[in-house]
């Protein structure tokens, strides 16, 4: 859209000055509006008609021309109103694996009236079409390719609309605080067998269940450790003692893999975590800066994957997703 280069640049520059937020309400402060390419073509059509009216001194062609011009001007207003008052927010952080499409959660709400023909995205060439009905929160996922692990924030969100007739385009650039957590890509790697004996924490032995020290259940103990046989026999809640890793347990550690690249190591770790999780095995994670005691379950897996995703990146990576 060559015509719109100038206002387009202004809008980008202005929005870059604004601060990041979880929630935006669209108003005249952040909506930009300009005739679209076909809008300029329509103006040309009106000029042509006006020339026809003047040259043939035809009153009805004048009337027709004025009618179309009035529609053009009203569509400026309708286009603005369509976007005005929209509430754009993002509070959920969605997750995905490197190399997949990650979804940024975006919620668009329109309180007063339906908003039609909206398109949103990060650049003008790939936009998702959506319409929002009155008074309902519509949740949308903006899918973008995830090329690197880490916690990513959406660069700038563009929402535009050509409603009602396409003559006018209204758009906005929002620095929406929409985040996505990208885990390393799961790649199968060979765990070095030597590493098995090198379980430095020393509590990853495979001990038979008979030798486990038993304790009475106390409130707060993990249900995983309940000895169900005892419950059936004695009607008593007995658990395995905590301080011994006296059950099947693996420490997934940094030195387990025979590759030099950190990213590769993280990828292999990721694969193994998923693998252990799938097999319902108990595992712990031991990487520099993060030690997660062995356990299993969905939450545990998430904790481990998050540690992998954020490894070496500090709390948050403020990189663009414009790859």
């Amino acid at each position: 859209m060559k015509f719109a280069i100038f206002p387009e640049n202004i809008s980008r520059w202005l929005s870059s000055k604004s601060s990041r937020s979880n929630q935006f309400t669209l108003s005249q402060k952040n909506i930009y509006i300009f005739p679209s390419k076909i809008g300029f073509a329509f103006v040309l059509l009106i000029v042509l008609m006006l020339l026809t009216a003047i040259n043939y001194q035809n009153s009805l062609i004048y009337l027709f021309t004025f009618f179309l011009s009035a529609i053009f001007f009203i569509s400026i207003w309708l286009c603005f109103l369509n976007m005005n008052g929209l509430c754009v927010s993002s509070f959920r952080v969605l997750e995905c694996f490197e190399g997949e499409l990650c979804a940024y959660a975006i919620e668009i709400t329109s309180a007063a009236k339906p908003a039609l023909g909206l398109r949103f995205g990060v650049d003008k060439h790939s936009l998702n079409e959506v319409s929002v009905s009155k008074d309902t929160k519509s949740a949308h996922n903006l899918l973008l390719p995830a090329n690197r692990r880490g916690l990513h924030t959406l660069d700038r969100l563009r929402i535009e609309s050509l409603f009602p007739f396409g003559f006018i385009i209204a758009w906005t650039w929002l620095k929406l605080d929409s985040k996505v957590l990208v885990f390393p890509k799961p790649v199968e790697g060979s765990r070095s067998q030597g590493g098995q004996s090198d379980y430095s924490k020393g509590n990853a032995q495979f001990v038979s269940e008979d030798l486990t020290e038993l304790k009475a259940y106390q409130h707060g103990d993990s249900a995983l450790r309940i000895v169900w046989k005892q419950l059936a026999a004695k009607d008593q809640l007995i658990i395995r003692s905590h301080d011994q890793g006296a059950y099947d347990c693996t420490w997934l550690s940094w030195d387990l893999y025979d590759v030099s690249s950190i990213e590769k190591k993280l990828q292999h770790l990721c694969f193994d975590i998923l693998d252990f999780h799938r097999k319902q095995q108990v595992y712990g994670l031991d990487i520099p800066g993060a030690v997660i005691t062995p356990s299993k379950g969905e939450q545990h897996k998430h904790k481990c994957l998050k540690a992998l995703a954020l490894f070496g990146l500090g709390a948050e990576s403020d990189q663009n997703d414009k790859t």
């Binding site: 076909i38 073509a41 329509f42 059509l45 042509l48 008609m49 020339l51 026809t52 009216a53 003047i54 040259n55 043939y56 001194q57 035809n58 009153s59 009805l60 062609i61 004048y62 009337l63 027709f64 021309t65 004025f66 009618f67 179309l68 011009s69 009035a70 529609i71 001007f73 009203i74 569509s75 207003w77 309708l78 499409l101 009236k113 339906p114 039609l116 023909g117 909206l118 398109r119 995205g121 790939s126 936009l127 998702n128 079409e129 959506v130 319409s131 929002v132 009905s133 009155k134 899918l143 390719p145 609309s161 050509l162 409603f163 009602p164 007739f165 396409g166 790859t323």
Partner: protein, 669 residues
């Protein structure tokens, strides 16, 4: 980067509203039907249906080869038909054909938008050919349909689900109305930037500039409108309405034609078209239907009072440009000055001035007769002149001859052979106005009385509903003017002698018994017979006349007079300066008040719900009625209890109702 599928915008090409597009094409073909050749309309309709079928039913686009064949075929036929004669209607037809072909190769949103634009331009162009109200209404419908297509393209995937598209359109149209009105009234009407000759192939309608016996009879079968006329003061009697159109002063033995000798312009009055009527004189305004000719129909004696009328010799007028569109002109006239032979006192006529008699007889066009034609008539006139040496007596005899002898007025005169006047006068004796006028003028010329045939219209249908005359083609008429010494040109209407009811009541009555009136158009004649339908026809005509006057013919002059009439009262001078100031100030204050009210309303409108507003209103009344006021922080329920305990039973009842409503509103969202 290759885009994943999910990132593609939702383009469902085959979900485009092709049905609406097809409707648009069909309506457009209807709009351009009148000036397009029939083959073109049919061809375009077939192409459009074919395109629609492939898009919608087959779900494919028309293949390139078929499209190429169709394009070549249409170009060839088109140029074979028009042979490179550039006219406006050819250009319009070309555009119609081209846009229909474009319909076959729509690919994406941009194509459809372009197609819609072409359709809108075609709508505008169609006003060059037709300007009736019904046509304008059709074009409004087309605008709506076109906008609907654009709305479908830009309204996103859930257009119907969230908002009926027609409500958007309706809103747009309603808002556009006032803007259009203001622009239409006040946008300056500029003179044409460059002149494009409007050549159309549309045939001229109505009168022709020559008249053989029987010509007007054909015209008289048409119930089409020739023009309408409104009078400013008193409405003349029907029998005085002789609308002179053109002077036919050359006779070749068979037909009368215009010699062209009276084509020298005497200039024209530069009178504003917008200024309606000059004071005092009776004036009339004629709204001429487009006929592609330049003749002005005017009563005798008239003065032109609009700038688009030129004055010619022989008391006829001409339009500056041909009436390709409906044209309005204004005239002033004095009924009392009309010279009708029968109304002139015989004493005046008897002042036979012999000196003028044979004055330069040879060169005069108004005495021209062909030699060696109609010998019987020549002999008849020669004999008659002997028995009536005085011109007045001679004329009187001829006129009474038509009424007393067995001459008949008919719409279906027998076909005449060689010497038409001889045959008509002495053999057939059945004739229409052209026969009578032609032979009378010929006989007068043979008797050395300067004379000419006038072609125009006589009478008109009076529309009582809003005081104007509708003159139809069947009111076409021909009569004679003769120059009598001392009096000047005098009107003689032989038809009035043969069939007085033609002049007094019109053609329908005059030939009513023969059943030949409008027999070519049964619908028109049926409508005339049924009084309810006739009333409706007059109502519709009245509406169309108003439409033409107010909208179609709204131009520079009308605009200027409108602006003048608006501002004439407000032109600031010493007298009314104060008034103007007060008025302007008042309007300004009103405007500001309205804006403030709107702002105030917008600010508070959304803050409270309806139930809350009612509750607060009730609190206000309650305070007035009982003096009980809600304390800050007191809940509505607590307040209700307090009122119930205070002893105001009725007020408590109402308060309870309103409080319940409020609670429902607050907690049942």
């Amino acid at each position: 980067m290759t885009k994943p599928d999910t990132l593609k915008p939702h383009v469902h090409f085959f979900n485009y509203p092709f049905g609406v597009l097809l409707t648009i094409i069909m309506l457009q073909l209807l709009s351009h039907y009148n000036h397009s050749p029939f083959w073109l309309t049919l061809f375009a309709a077939v192409i459009a249906c074919f395109g629609f079928f492939t898009y919608k039913v087959v779900g494919k686009k028309v293949s390139v080869s078929i499209r190429t064949i169709l394009v070549i075929l249409s170009v060839v036929i088109f140029f074979l038909y028009y042979k490179m004669n550039f006219t406006v209607d050819m250009a319009a037809s070309l555009l119609v054909l081209a846009s229909t072909l474009k319909f076959l190769e729509l690919k994406n949103k941009k194509d459809v938008t372009l197609f819609v634009y072409i359709m809108l331009y075609l709508s505008a162009v169609s006003f060059l050919f037709v300007q009736s109200f019904s046509h304008a209404a059709l074009q409004l419908l087309l605008i709506l349909a076109n906008l609907y297509v654009l709305l479908r393209l830009n309204g996103g995937p859930h257009l119907y689900k969230y908002q009926a598209p027609w409500s958007s359109l309706f809103k747009t149209i309603m808002l556009a109305g006032p803007i259009v009105l203001v622009c239409f009234l006040f946008f300056p009407r500029i003179a044409p930037l460059w002149s494009i000759p409007i050549k159309t192939q549309t045939a001229t309608t109505g009168m022709t500039n020559f008249m053989s016996p029987g010509d007007i009879a054909e015209l008289a079968q048409s119930s089409e409108r020739a023009f309408r006329a409104t009078f400013s003061l008193q409405i003349p009697k029907r029998k005085d309405l002789y609308w002179r159109g053109l002077v036919l002063d050359y006779f070749d033995g068979r037909s009368w034609r215009s010699s062209g000798s009276n084509s020298s312009y005497k200039g024209f009055n530069k009178v504003d078209l917008g200024v309606l009527y000059e004071h005092g004189d009776n004036a009339y305004e004629v709204m001429l239907e487009p006929n592609n000719q330049s003749w002005v129909y005017a009563l005798e004696p008239s003065r032109a009072s609009s700038s688009n009328v030129l004055i010619k010799d022989a008391g006829v007028f001409q339009l500056k440009t041909d009436a390709i569109q409906s044209t309005r002109y204004k005239m002033t006239f004095k009924t009392s000055e009309a010279k009708e032979f029968s109304t002139i006192p015989t004493a005046t006529l008897l002042l036979d001035n012999k000196r003028n008699n044979l004055n330069n007889k040879r060169g005069r066009i108004d005495l021209q007769v062909p030699k060696n034609s109609n010998p019987k008539t020549q002999q008849f006139v020669k004999d008659l002149r002997v028995s009536f040496p005085k011109k007045v007596d001679f004329i009187n005899y001829l006129m009474s001859m038509f009424s007393e002898q067995k001459y008949f007025y008919t719409l279906k005169p027998p076909v005449l052979g060689g010497d038409v006047i001889d045959e008509f006068l002495f053999d057939t004796k059945y004739g229409f106005c052209a026969h009578y006028a032609g032979s009378l003028a010929y006989m007068l010329r043979l008797a050395d009385i300067p004379s000419r045939v006038i072609a125009g219209y006589q009478g008109g249908e009076y529309n009582k509903l809003s005081n104007y005359f509708i003159v139809h083609q069947y009111d076409a008429h021909a009569w004679v003017e003769a120059k009598l010494p001392g009096v000047g040109w005098v009107r003689l209407d032989p038809t009035a002698m043969v069939a007085p009811e033609r002049i007094l009541s019109g053609l329908g009555v005059a030939v009513g018994e023969q059943g030949s009136f409008l027999e070519g158009s049964p619908i028109a004649s049926t409508i005339l017979k049924i009084s309810g339908l006739n009333w409706l026809r007059l109502r519709v005509d009245e509406f169309n006349y108003k439409w033409q006057k107010l909208v179609v013919n709204y131009g520079d002059g009308e605009q200027q007079s409108l602006i003048k009439s608006i501002f004439s009262g407000f032109m600031p001078n010493a007298d009314n300066l104060l008034r103007v100031l007060v008025l302007v100030g008042g309007l300004f204050a009103l405007l500001i008040t309205v804006i403030l009210l709107i702002l105030w309303y917008k600010r508070y409108a959304g803050r409270y719900s309806k139930a809350e507003k009612y509750y607060m209103l009730w609190l206000y009344f309650l305070a007035r009625l009982s003096g009980l006021k809600r304390i800050t922080g007191e809940t509505p329920n607590a307040f209700l209890l307090r009122i119930q305990s205070s002893g105001y039973k009725r007020l408590a009842k109402v308060t309870k109702k309103i409080t319940t409503k409020l609670e429902q509103d607050q907690y049942q969202l």
